[in-house]
């Protein structure tokens, strides 16, 4: 038994074949979205998609088709690198942000250390071996 011509799934419409009741593509390639199957077919081929879906449990097939569609779209947009280019770009982003975090944390450490040094200088007696500081302290204290 096959579906009437008007309710063929997008895959069977594209491939110009009858759409059986148990068509494996039918739940995931509705007839109102022909481009979805066209992209997936262009990159993977209908038979490979069918084989892949058959190897998966039914509950996982929708996600699998979604990911195939996304990857096919990426490959059509970027025929050289496809999805791998996005992976590469994200890895570079991670590296850049990690470097920025390390740099920022180093700056925080510098700030905190400089704050500690200044507060220590304010509370301790001035050092005598530092001429500049000795003169300054003498100015504040007045002549001996």
């Amino acid at each position: 038994m096959s579906n009437p011509t008007s309710s063929r799934c997008a895959a069977c419409k594209y491939l110009r074949r009858r759409c059986p009741q148990d068509c494996i593509c039918s739940p995931y390639f509705p007839s109102n979205d022909p481009q979805r199957f066209a992209y997936v077919h262009k990159i993977y081929g209908a038979s490979n998609v069918g084989k892949l879906l058959q190897q998966l449990p039914e509950r996982a097939r929708f996600e699998a088709v979604e990911s195939l569609y996304y990857e096919a779209l990426c490959r059509i947009q970027d025929p050289v690198y496809g999805c791998a280019g996005i992976v590469s770009w994200l890895q570079q982003q991670i590296h850049d942000v990690e470097s920025e975090i390390a740099k920022t944390r180093a700056e925080i450490t510098v700030f905190l250390n400089s704050n500690i040094s200044i507060s220590e200088l304010n509370t301790q007696h001035p050092q005598t071996d530092d001429m500049g500081m000795e003169n300054l302290s003498n100015k504040h204290k007045g002549p001996l």
Binding site: V80, G82, I101, N115
Partner: protein, 196 residues
């Protein structure tokens, strides 16, 4: 040209056909790497790969083959999500790291604003520094800066502002991503080399 003087390339071996001198696969699927072609053929199909390579200039085909091998490997490892699973994982990592960066930058801001009399070193322009308008809005909106509670909320609101101003439109970046040369790429899940 066929790989080696007499031996067919890996694709022609697997497909059991004569390896022509101008075989499109021969430069990229050497006879000693049968698994490489096997995995690409399993996922994409030899004819689809051939069509893809034919549409590309010769100098880009090696990179295209390597990316196809990577995607096919990811799909074999994870038949449901393939490469998209790796992308999702990396996206999460980027988001978390951006949050950490925003918090760290907000902390610097907080320290700087608590020490206004100290000589402030000029910072080099950075893409991730808050804008002057954000700084002035923070100073006018949070007067009791010495209070612990308001300092914490200042830190969090500063972080949120920085994130909002610097949030990457990742979905837009995906589909508008321009090809670039990749020197070293590692699989995020298994840390193996992308380019086999």
């Amino acid at each position: 040209m066929a790989g080696g003087s007499n031996s067919p390339c890996a694709s022609c071996k697997l497909l059991r056909r004569r390896c022509a001198k101008d075989c499109i696969f021969a430069p990229y699927f050497r006879p000693d790497e049968p698994k490489k072609f096997a995995i690409v053929h399993k996922v994409f199909g030899a004819s689809n790969v051939s069509k893809m390579l034919q549409e590309l200039p010769v100098h880009q085909r090696a990179d295209a083959v390597n990316s196809l091998v990577y995607e096919a490997s990811a799909r074999v490892r994870d038949p449901v999500y393939g490469c998209v699973g790796a992308i999702s994982c990396l996206q999460n990592q980027v988001s978390q790291l951006q949050l950490q960066l925003a918090v760290a930058q907000a902390e610097i801001l907080s320290i700087q604003m608590q020490q206004p009399h100290q000589q402030q070193q000029e910072q080099e322009p950075s893409l991730l520094l808050p804008s002057p308008s954000m700084l002035s809005s923070l100073q006018t909106d949070h007067q009791d800066i010495d209070d612990d509670k308001s300092s914490t909320s200042l830190l969090l609101s500063s972080a949120a502002n920085i994130i909002n101003n610097n949030q990457l439109n990742l979905s837009g970046q995906y589909f508008g991503f321009a090809s670039s040369v990749v020197n070293v790429v590692q699989d995020p899940l298994k840390r193996e080399s992308l380019w086999i």
